[in-house]
Amino acid sequence: MFGRGLKTLSLITVALIVGAFAMVFFYAPNDADQGFIQKIFYLHVPLAIVALFGFVAGGVYGIKYLRTGDRLHDLRSYVAIHLSLILAVGALVTGSIWARGSWGVWWTWDEPTLVSFLIVFLLYACYQPLRFSIEDPERQARYAAVFAIIAGAFVPLNFMAVRMAESLVHPRVLSTTGGSMPSDMRITFLVSTVAMACLFITLWKYELASKHATFRLRALKRRLADGEDAWTPNPRRSAAPTL
């Protein structure tokens, strides 16, 4: 059921990613200030933005889980946060590389996106340990949803606070997205972001389909093995949700 439309979506994603990267290198002009290194921007910022939305989506599915008690929502929330964590690692590493290339240091506290991401990453890195340290699957799902909601609300607040706190001394590309950024750069950036979002959705659906299939398979195996009802829970303890 989660696999429906996955093939089309994958093809669209591939086309968009290839197109976006082609635009980055062959269409968008080099940045006037930073030169070629600014090409990292088209990777780093979409990664960060999509991870951010992924975290918030995890919170939204957390709310849905608490309202309905449907374990599938817990699964959706878990997979969204799990994938966003991976993208956040990508955003951190690419940001760090950009800082090294631009300013000669691996880390800079003057880039609010980067600093915020470190904080958000540190918070969400607790998500899996929290899940893992709760044995009862129902309570695990409930507490994980509460965490996802708190953390989801925390993301924008944190961004605001960090942005206010950092003095904006360095030339920052993101602040120019609104006005002075040349339109060909802006279009490239938009396409890259859409491509990244598509990649996220594809992987999300992919993992949902995979996890769902695994659960159904396990349930089938248990039923065949000892004739027990399908509601006998999964014998292996894990941070991942069980259905």
Binding site: F21, N30, D31, D33, Q34, G35, F36, I37, K39, I40, L43, H44, L47, I86, L87, V89, G90, V93, T94, I97, W98, R100, G101, S102, W103, P171, L199, L203, Y206, E207, S210, A213, T214, L217, R218, L220, K221, L224, A225
Partner: protein, 66 residues
Amino acid sequence: MPALPLDEAGKYVAAAYLVFLALVLIYVAIMAGRLARVERDLGEITDLLEQRTAEAEDDERETVPR
């Protein structure tokens, strides 16, 4: 801030995009591992099912001659 020359900047840009590629590939590798487990589980289920049908046939054979 002076812009980095292309040959210097190229390394960093390549590194960043490689990080992205590596992340996606690692993800694919992990999912491949999961797929292998699903395959194994499926094999076990098939075996169980065959075993069951074999037992059922044996039962029938025993009861029929009587």
